[in-house]
Every structure is written in C-alpha cells, then in structure tokens.
C-alpha cells in the first residue's frame, strides 16, 4: 500500500461515529478490518501474502519495505484528540503502546495469513494468551482447556486465574463427551492447542467448534506448532488464533513475541486489555518479525520435509521406542491431521528405549541440534519435556499425560536432512551404548 503525506495519522478509512446524532440508530461508524494504512492484500497464495501483505511503503522516500518507526510517540492534532474522545484510538497513531506503523504492518501480514479481519502483536506469546483469555473470560467465568498443555499456559490457567476470579477445568479435548460434561452454566471459553505440546495430538477443530457453538462458547486455538501455513483455524470455526510468534512465525530464534488474530470485534476487546497490561511489541521487534514472516511459507515447507525424513529414520531405529509425528501413519491422529493440516510442521517427539537420564545424554551427544528450549527456528533445537516445558508437572502427572521417561522433543530445522539423520544416529549409538556399559 502506498501512503501519501496526510494530516490524519492513522487509518484513513476510519469513520467517526458522528457525534451530535439524535439517537444511537443514527450513529455512522461501522467496524472495519484492520487498522491499516490502506487497503491491504488479502488474496493470493501463502508465499505472496508472506512477502507482500501489510508492507507499508513510504511514499516520501521510496524505500522498499516497511521502514522502522522506532519512536514512542506521535504528533497530535485535532484528529487525534477526536479519536480519543470518541473511542477509536486504535485507528490512530498516538503512542507506540497503542499502535505503531511497524505493529500495524506485521499485524496486517498476520491477519492476511490467517484469513482474519484483525490481529495484535504482543511482547510474548504468554502476553497474547493472557490478554486474550482475560478479555474473553469475565470475572466468575469458567475456562475449559486441555490436560495436554504448554507449561506456561498451564501455570497461568492453574495458578493465576483463580486469583482473578475465573475458574478452569482441564479435560481431554479428544473426548468430546467428557468435554461437554465439563461445561458449566458460567463456562465462556474453550482453549486448545492445535498440535499439543509435546505429544503432538491434533485438536479436532470442526468438532470443537460445533461443541462451542452449541453451548454458546468461544473457541481459542493456540496454533504455535503449526503456523497459518499448516492450518488456518478460523476457517475451521475457531473464534481466535493465538501464537507464540517467537517460534515458527519469526523462525530465527532471535525475538520474543506473540499474536492474537481474529475478528475486529474480538481483537478490539483484546487490544483494550493489552493497553492496560502494557504488553505491546517494540517497533524493532515488529520489524524483525515482519522480516521473518516473509519466508514463513518457504521455511514451513523445509521444516515439514525435513521432519518427515527424520521421523521416518527414527521410526526404523532399534533404540527408539516410539515416534510421534502426525505426518506418519503410525501417529494416532494421522487421519485427523491429514484432513486438517496441509503441513504438519517440523516438530517430532520420540521416546528412546531408556531413561530421562539417557535422553539427556543423547541430547548432549548431538552436534547439530542445539540443546535449548523453544522451537520453530531455522536451526534444529532439542529439549526434554521433563526438565523444560513440563517441569511444572510431577512425574506422575507427566505419565498420565502420556509423557513417558526417555521422551525427547525435537524441533527440526532447515538444515540438510542427511546431516541431521547422521547426527541423530551417532548420538543414539553413543548415549544408549554408554548406558549398557555402565549397567
């Protein structure tokens, strides 16, 4: 979109409600997608949207790509004061906690990729989840979520929500009858991960959306492990998608960010929470995220291809007890994944034929995948759920979730798959051989 020098600092399409009307029915402002600096690209293939959607081209300089607006504040004028007085501050540039061109550019790219009206970026994935859940769950409200959950989300729901006057139930989202039985008169929200962490169970979005609609609930889907290249949850009935953008969306393990994406109506409600919690994303981080997103489709293709090859190798290895990759027929949710996900992504969970200590030895023997928490970067990362993402749970709780000893989580990067397979092979031999010597 081309921008012209203008006196309005913000979305040029934004209408005033028309103060001075005789009653409510005469008000003029309608909800529009965005906010944006012009009509944004919404149609096209995923790679085209990755490269072009949301880009803010600066007419004054002719710079290609969105410049970095590393400013905290903006010149105010009568337009800005009017926006504050009439309640459409989200459509104007006032202060970078409220909105900034770099936030808008990356938000528009994310909205286009998810097929949504609006999106918001946050200073972390947890900031996105906290603002979203607190915006959609009233005090006294009840949240229905999964037993199989990222530790950070589990901690927030289990340890913090009660102090904020909200209650929560953890149920298996694949057991719809149990899920339905857990719905209370004050249940407002279902929150699930599209691909669960670390067992990569697939959430049956169409079934969950039907359940939510039947009971007048909203459905929020954390699609961090899949990205919009693999699935657009809004098209399957979700009300909102949240992401830890630190993972696949950015893809380079060099920033912390989050996103919430959906209808303008709901994202506006979340924006109000983001404002008071102060969890906005810095303009420079927005620039990095926007740049990372340009290669999202390419990267996801490579992650998926590599992960398929690595998972196929692991599946045939005698020292590997179990491989969980929804792209393999051996995964319990293979059929569901095939129908719902166009790309499974690069996450593999596997169990070695050994203990957590041997799994740690394996991780330390690997030369290419880095021993680090997080996922979704161009480099392969490997970690053990028992001492990272699921350290907040007891061993018995982990066992009940299906996380058995020797469980390894591998985020397959975009390296050459032959190198990754060779490295895994030598590490498996050395880690499991040393154990038998000790025994």
């Amino acid at each position: 979109m081309k921008s012209q020098p203008r006196s309005i600092h913000g979305d040029p399409r934004a209408q005033t409600p028309g103060s001075g009307a005789s009653w409510c029915n005469r008000l003029q402002r309608r909800r529009l997608a965005g906010p944006a600096l012009g009509e944004n690209l919404r149609n096209g293939g995923a790679s085209t949207l990755c490269v072009h959607a949301g880009t803010m081209e600066d007419a004054t300089t002719g710079a290609v790509g969105t410049p970095i607006f590393q400013n905290s504040t903006f010149v105010l004028g009568s337009e800005s004061y009017q926006a504050v007085e009439q309640g459409f501050a989200r459509d104007r540039f006032l202060y970078s906690r409220y909105g900034n061109p770099n936030q808008w550019a990356v938000q528009e790219k994310l909205a286009a990729l998810e097929g949504a009206e609006s999106s918001l970026v946050f200073s972390s994935g947890m900031a996105a989840i906290a603002a979203t859940v607190l915006a959609l769950l009233e005090p006294g409200g009840h949240l229905l979520t999964s037993t199989d959950l990222y530790g950070g989300s589990y901690n927030f729901f289990q340890e913090e929500l009660a102090n904020m006057g909200r209650s929560v139930s953890f149920v298996d989202p694949r057991k719809l009858k149990g899920m339905e039985a857990a719905i209370r008169p004050n249940t407002e929200l279902i929150f699930v991960e599209l691909l669960s962490n670390p067992l990569l169970k697939v959430a049956d979005l169409p079934a969950l959306a039907a359940l939510a609609s039947r009971h007048r609930l909203r459905l929020v889907v954390d699609a961090t492990f899949v990205s919009p290249i693999g699935c657009r949850p809004l098209e399957h009935g979700a009300d909102l998608v949240v992401h830890s953008a630190s993972k696949y969306l950015n893809g380079h393990s060099d920033l912390i960010a989050g996103a919430a994406i959906g209808s303008r109506k709901l994202v506006d409600r979340i924006w109000q929470r983001m404002l008071v919690f102060g969890s906005s994303l810095d303009p420079h981080a927005c620039f990095l995220l926007e740049r990372g997103l340009k290669t999202l489709a390419l990267r996801m293709e490579a992650h998926h291809r590599n992960a398929f090859q690595v998972a196929s190798f692991l599946q045939t290895h005698p020292k590997v007890r179990r491989v969980l990759f929804p792209g393999l027929e051996s995964h319990p949710d293979f059929a569901l994944a095939k129908g719902l996900l166009s790309r499974v992504g690069g996450m593999i969970t596997f169990e070695i034929d050994g203990t957590d200590e041997q799994a740690l030895a394996l991780v330390q023997a690997l030369k290419l995948p880095t021993e680090a928490t997080s996922l979704g970067g161009v480099e392969s990362l490997v970690s053990l759920p028992f001492n990272t993402s699921h350290a907040a749970f007891t061993a018995a709780q982990r066992e009940a979730m299906g996380i058995r000893p020797g469980c390894v989580r591998l985020s397959v990067g975009i390296e050459d798959p032959a190198d990754l397979i060779g490295d895994l092979n030598q590490a498996l031999e050395s880690a499991l051989a040393s154990h038998s010597e000790l025994a």
């Binding site: 409600p17 103060s19 005789s22 409510c24 008000l27 009439q86 009233e138 004050n186 407002e188």
Partner: protein
C-alpha cells in the same frame, strides 16, 4: 472518551445488530435463595448476549427493615425494583448524552414510589396491591443546550427498557415446582 463511553464501540454495535439481529438478543436472570426471615441472597445468572454466554459474578442481599419484620441486612425489594428502573434510566441518559455530544457534569436520578401495604396484607379489598405511582426526578448538568436536554429526556422516555416494561407492563408467568422434603 466522553462520559466514559466509547461512542465508536456503541456505533459499531448498532451497525452490527442492524446486520444481524441475533447479536442484539440479551437474556438475563437472577436466582434468589431464602436465607432466613425476609432475607434473600440474590445471584446473577449467566447472561446470554447474542450467540455467546456472559458470566456474571454478582451477589447481593435483599431484606426488609425491622418494622416490616426483617433484619435489615440489605435494601428491600421495592428499593431494588426502583433502582432497577433508575439504573436503566441512567444508562439511557448517559448513552444518549454521549450520542448528542454532550459532556455531562452531573447526572442524578431520584426514584420514588408509594405503596399502600393494606393491599399486600389484604385487609382492604379496594386498595390496590401495586405501586400507586412511581415518580422520578432527573438532575442533569453539562454543556448541552436546554433543547438538547429536553430532547434527551423525551428519548429516554421512549427508549429505556425498564421504564417501558413498568409503564406498559409485560406478560409475567410464575411456575411452581414442589420438591421432595429434605
């Protein structure tokens, strides 16, 4: 935001329900549990707004004053009824003033009603059980003109749901369930 109300949010909601009347459907409920004597604990039930539920975390107590055989732990049912009328009127004045572009400085409403308790007690057949009359006095101050305030007053008379419900009456049905003794 003028008067603490987002006129843009209001305008967007108006246009949303012009497109989709389902989003304007609101269902309310309260539950009263007898505590002792004339005292009840009121719990707001989950609302339904449009296609979605809205949890309501509110409880309050209703009681009668001591001369009317209560323990005076809370406002009486008549005061709760009058405040339900007054609260609804107040919303309409605040919203209407914002729509008109008036910055309010004062908005105060007094609601008064008279009952002849001989009606409730059944001691005099000619005496009506209902309120004989309900009256309210609105005090407004702000940067609007006299014409604007009078227009606002007339609009609120036409648009306040609780006012209209009391003024016109609504079908009211009570059902009885006799439960097993504890």
């Amino acid at each position: 935001m003028k008067n603490g109300i987002s006129l843009s949010g209001l305008s967007e909601f108006v246009h949303e329900v012009k497109q989709d009347g389902k989003e304007a459907q609101a269902s309310y409920g309260v539950q009263l549990d007898w505590q002792s004597g004339t005292r009840s604990q009121v719990t707001a039930l989950a609302m339904q707004l449009g296609r979605h539920r809205l949890a309501r975390e509110f409880q309050w107590t209703i009681d009668e004053p001591r001369p009317l055989l209560g323990q005076n732990h809370g406002p009486n049912p008549q005061e709760v009824l009058l405040s339900g009328l007054g609260g609804c009127l107040l919303v309409a004045y605040a919203v209407g003033a914002s729509v008109l572009g008036i910055q309010l400085e004062k908005l105060q409403i007094q609601v008064r009603g008279n009952l002849d308790l001989r009606g409730f007690l059944g001691v005099e057949e000619q005496v009506p059980v209902a309120f004989q009359e309900i009256e309210y006095q609105v005090h407004l101050a702000g940067d609007g003109s006299r014409e604007q305030f009078e227009h606002l007053h007339r609009q609120v008379e036409r648009q306040s749901p609780n006012r209209m419900s009391l003024a016109q009456g609504v079908p009211l049905r009570g059902h009885l369930t006799i439960e097993k003794r504890l």
